[in-house]
Amino acid sequence: MAVFTVPHIKISGISACVPKQTEDNAQFELLPENERALFIKTVGIRFRRVAPAGTTASDLCYAAADKLLTDLGWDRNEIKLLVFITQTPDYLIPNTSSILQEKLGLPKTCMAFDANLGCSGYVYGLSMAGSILQNMPGGKALLLVGDISTATISMEDKSTAPLFSDAGTATALEYTESGKVHFNLQTDGREFDDIIIPDGGYRNRYNPKSEEYIEYEKGIRRNNLQMKLDGVKIFNFALREIALNINTLFDEKQVDRALVDYYVFHQANLLMLESVRKKLKVETEKVPYSLYDYGNTSSATIPVTMVTKLREQLMYSKRHLLLSGFGVGLSWGSAYIETENIVCPEIFEV
C-alpha cells in the first residue's frame, strides 16, 4: 500500500483564481427545465466558470501564484521547486512548468516539472512536492494545480457539459522541522477509459475522423477530441473506494478521527460525496462544498474549496484536514494535514 508520511513540510499559503465568465446550469438548454432543477439539487452544481479562448490553465495558475507570492512577501529567488499539475497544458511539448518558472520570475536554480493528473492531482501533487522539499532544509516550493476542462468537453454532451468548470490555484509549501503529512495514494488502470479523450495523443493520433461528431444517445453528442465520462462507473468507483481509502489512512497512521476538523473532498457530485460522508459517519458541518458556485474544476477543487469555504479558519487558527481527490486514471488518494495561520487571499477573477 502506498501509505506513507512526508515529514518536514507545511502549507504556508493557498490562492485560487477563476475566469470571469460564468455559466448557469439553470439556463442549460440541453436538459429539460425539470431535469435542470433535479441536476442542480442532486449533482449540486449551479454555476461554472469558463476560460475564454486564449486563456490557459497556466495563466490562471500564474495569476494565483503571483498574488500568493506577493501576499506572502517571499523572495522569489528562494523558491527551489515548482510542480505544475494539469491535464490541459499550454503545449504538448514543452512542459508548461518551464514557462511558469520564467513568467513568475523564479531563478534558474529552481527545479520544475509537470504531472498529468486530474481529480486526484492536488493530493498527488502535495505528495510529490513534499517528498522533494523534505530533503531541502530551508526550502520553499510552489504547487500549481489547475485545468481548463471546459475546453475539452462538447457543449452537446449533457454527461459532461454541466459538470466542468475552470480554475487555477497555487499552494506555497515550506520546509519545517515539525510539520508532516500522511498520504494514502492509489491507482486502478483497469478503468483507464472511464474518463478519456480518445484521440489526439500518440495511441490514437489526430486524424480527420477525430473531429466527426457521434450521437451516443439523446443529449450525448461529441467527437473523439472531447472528453467522455462514464458517470455511473465513476459513481460506483467513488462509493467503493473513497471511504475505504480514507479509513485505511486513519488506521495505518493511527489518526484520531475526532481530531479531524474538515474533510475536503474533490468536488465531483453532491450525491456521491454525501454518500461517502455517510459511509465515513462524518457530520455535515465537517464537509464543505464549493461545487454549487464553482463546479468541478478538476484537480483544483480541493484548494478552491479551502479558499472559498475555510479561508478565515485557515488564516487565523490551527486546523486538521483530511483531503481526498479521486477520478480520472483511475487515480485516487487522501492526505491528512495540519495547517496553521496560512496566507490565503480571497478567490479572484481574471
Partner: protein
C-alpha cells in the same frame, strides 16, 4: 432483503412520481421521471440501504423493479 422493502426504498427515490404507483411489476425505465439522475439516486440508495453495487448494465437488464431486486439479491 425483501421485495416489499426494496420496492419501498426504490419508490422513495422519486420526487414527482407517486410512491404508491411504483410496484414490483412497474417498468421503471418507462416512468416519465426516470433518467440519468434517477439512476444515480437509485444506485446511491441501494448502496446505502442494501450494501450492493448496481451497474449501468444491471439497470439496463432489468425491466421491472422486481427484476432489479432479483439482480441485486443475487450479488
Amino acid at each position: 432483503m425483501l421485495l416489499e422493502e426494496f420496492t419501498k426504498k426504490f419508490a422513495e427515490c422519486f420526487n414527482q412520481t407517486d410512491p404508491a404507483a411504483i410496484k414490483p411489476e412497474t417498468e421503471f425505465r418507462k416512468l416519465e421521471e426516470w433518467g440519468s439522475m434517477m439512476a444515480l439516486i437509485v444506485i446511491a440508495t441501494i448502496d446505502a440501504d442494501f450494501g450492493k453495487t448496481v451497474t449501468s448494465d444491471d439497470l439496463k437488464n432489468a425491466n421491472t423493479v422486481a427484476d432489479l431486486f432479483g439482480i441485486v439479491k443475487n450479488k
